[in-house]
């Protein structure tokens, strides 16, 4: 009965997830922290979206806001979140429980702390199956074994009887993925799923996520600080800074034609293999903005090498590029614009002048 109601209310053709002006603020003794401040985007079924930003940009809070996993006390939420045609932005934890694990699932950053240390792996995977799909314990454990095989864990049957401490970090992250996939969710949120892992394991986990996403026609939201991670594993990228969306485009479009100086700075901070050894790593100077009292104009202006007086005073709107209506950015002097090029030339000139002066000495 309830299944029918749910099925009929589902909007099968529309986008899976629509965010309109989503805000998440936290009440703290210091004041209101605007962790997520007016974010809008649309995610289609089966697509992978990367949310990129440094620590404190609001990317994790955004993904948890969508899932409704934030502590209710002290959290002020606003805007609208539509999931499968249903408004979920205002639902409480109680109402979200039937969605959690079943339609939306989440993978956490640190596999060392995300599994219950005193519960067998099998039981942890079987739990959502028993809760949401009403499986018997036996069926749930059999399904859990298949899930472990799906995430490429050898000797799945033996592993079910083990505890988390008997597994490596990569293995545990695979178990996390198996738990997340258990009930066949339509949306999977992966919050820095590879940050705590060895570099060699990172690629395996990302490939596994991509492969499961295609097999299951599931949407994936990949939250990370690493543009390199999202480059090969997403269809679209949203860049966040200071709780706001500052650029959003298809992955190809973004790398081909990035507009936002922040995105450019993020890309430049990835070390390159072809660089000479002992090349200084380029970091973004300064700190992320204080979200209690954010800067008046563009939030990136204090750290932006191209910032002009206008940037300090007026907040740039999120606008589409001339070439691609789906490529949005928020910047007064985007990368590639005449003003930006002019400033770049000036910076380069002053640098070489400085170098010449230093060399002449």
């Amino acid at each position: 009965m309830s299944d029918l109601i749910q099925a009929s209310s589902r909007d099968i053709d529309g986008p899976l997830l629509v965010l309109k002006d989503v805000t998440t603020h936290f009440k703290t003794p210091r004041g209101l922290v605007r962790a997520v401040d007016g974010v809008s985007f649309t995610l289609d079924r089966g697509k992978a979206l990367g949310i990129v930003g440094e620590s404190g940009s609001g990317k994790t809070i955004l993904s948890r806001s969508i899932m409704g996993l934030l502590p209710p006390r002290g959290t002020v939420r606003g805007g609208s979140i539509t999931f499968e045609g249903r408004e979920i932005g205002n639902l409480g934890r109680k109402e979200m429980r039937s969605v959690w694990g079943k339609e939306m699932a989440m993978i956490f950053q640190d596999p060392m702390t995300s599994l219950n240390p005193v519960m067998k792996i099998g039981r942890q995977i079987a739990e959502p199956l028993q809760i949401h799909l009403g499986m018997t314990k036996q069926n749930a454990w059999a399904t859990a074994e298949r899930l472990l095989q799906d995430v490429r864990i050898p000797e799945a049957k033996r592993r079910l009887e083990q505890y988390p401490h008997e597994m490596s970090g990569g293995m545990r992250q695979r178990v996390m993925i198996a738990i997340a996939l258990a009930c066949g969710p339509t949306a999977l949120f992966a919050d820095e799923p590879t940050t705590a892992l060895d570099v060699t394991v990172q690629a395996q986990i990302l490939d596994l996520l991509g492969e499961q996403r295609r097999d299951r026609n599931m949407s994936l939201v990949l939250v990370t600080h690493d543009l390199g991670v999202v480059a090969g594993h997403t269809d679209e990228i949203a860049v966040m800074y200071g709780g706001k969306l500052v650029e959003k485009a298809t992955t190809k479009g973004l790398f081909a034609n990035m507009k936002m100086p922040y995105t450019e700075a993020l890309l430049n901070s990835i070390p390159r293999l072809e660089d000479r050894s002992h090349t200084r790593l380029s970091a973004i100077a300064g700190r992320p903005p204080d979200l209690v009292n954010p800067p008046k104009g563009c939030r990136f202006a204090p750290r932006c090498p191209y910032a002009q007086p206008k940037c300090q005073n007026e907040e740039p709107p999120l606008v589409p590029t001339a070439e691609d209506p789906n490529h949005l950015y928020a910047c007064w002097y985007p990368v590639g614009s005449p003003e930006n090029t002019e400033i770049k030339v000036r910076i380069a000139a002053s640098k070489s002048e400085f170098a010449a002066a230093a060399g002449g000495n």
Partner: protein, 337 residues
Amino acid sequence: MRYALQKIGQFAIVFFIVTFTVMILMRLGLNAPGDPARTLLGGTADQELIDATTEKYRLDSNPFVQYVFWMTNMVQGDMGFSVPNSQPVFDYIQGRILTTLLLGFYAIFWGLVIAVPLAVRQAHKRDSWFDKFGSGAAFAFVSAPAIVLAPILTILLIKENTIGMPPPFGDFQVTIGGWFPRIGDKVYPWQDLGEHFRNFFVPTLVLTLPIAAIFSRLLRGDMVMTLQADFVTLASAKGVSPRRVLWVHALRNSLFSLLTSVGLQIGGIVGGAIVAEQFFDLDGMGSMLVTAILQKDLFTVQSASAILVGSVVIVNLTVDLMYGVLDPRIRHARAIA
């Protein structure tokens, strides 16, 4: 298994040191230094009887021989003779041991029954009024040991008090208290459950309230930490009900301090039982031990303390083994150690 044997060995050593020290101390001093039999028999005993007693209990031999002799006899049920009570120590203890065991069991049991749900709810609703009230109450009872609580509860529950108001507020009088007997003939649960309850209620309360307070403070603290762990959020994100998150995922990960404290409190309960039994005239091992020490009833003191030390040691041994049951990581570490 090897771990368990190791622990049993450790606790056997503790048991030996404590009981042996008690034995040696009982042989020293008292009324007639170096002559335990004279002390034991009192001042008027004749030399013949003293010599016979010394001979019978090997009181003049080397302390280790005496110890082995004592323990061997005790295991066989012969704990010597209590002169002031004119009966074998075994019979004397047998009539009283159950009172103290019941009192100790009730104190721990009700302590847990009160503390666990309270602490879980407090941690769940952290910083709410319920939590603040619970913490305040716990703090009050932690600071009120048995010796403070006993007179207060006597006034409130055992004595009858008439409360009245002076005329301007109306002339009424209410009598409260007198609900529980002060001097109860011991009634065991299988004799009359209701009477047993009335009998044991106040002494149990005196022992259990401070313990419940300590338990709830410890468990609340651990639980608050656990509830911030990633795996708890993951459990919610799987769609597990809040109740199950609390009681299945979080509780078992938060029990370590509580478990340790159960072991430690057992020792405290022996002390509390002495107070409660004295105060409420329940004749158990606690009051017996005090009387025996005052009467210089050597064999009773020896055997009663051996039994009390033995129980404390056994409970702590169980606690140590329980860590492994609670946490597979400890089991694992012990298996390879």
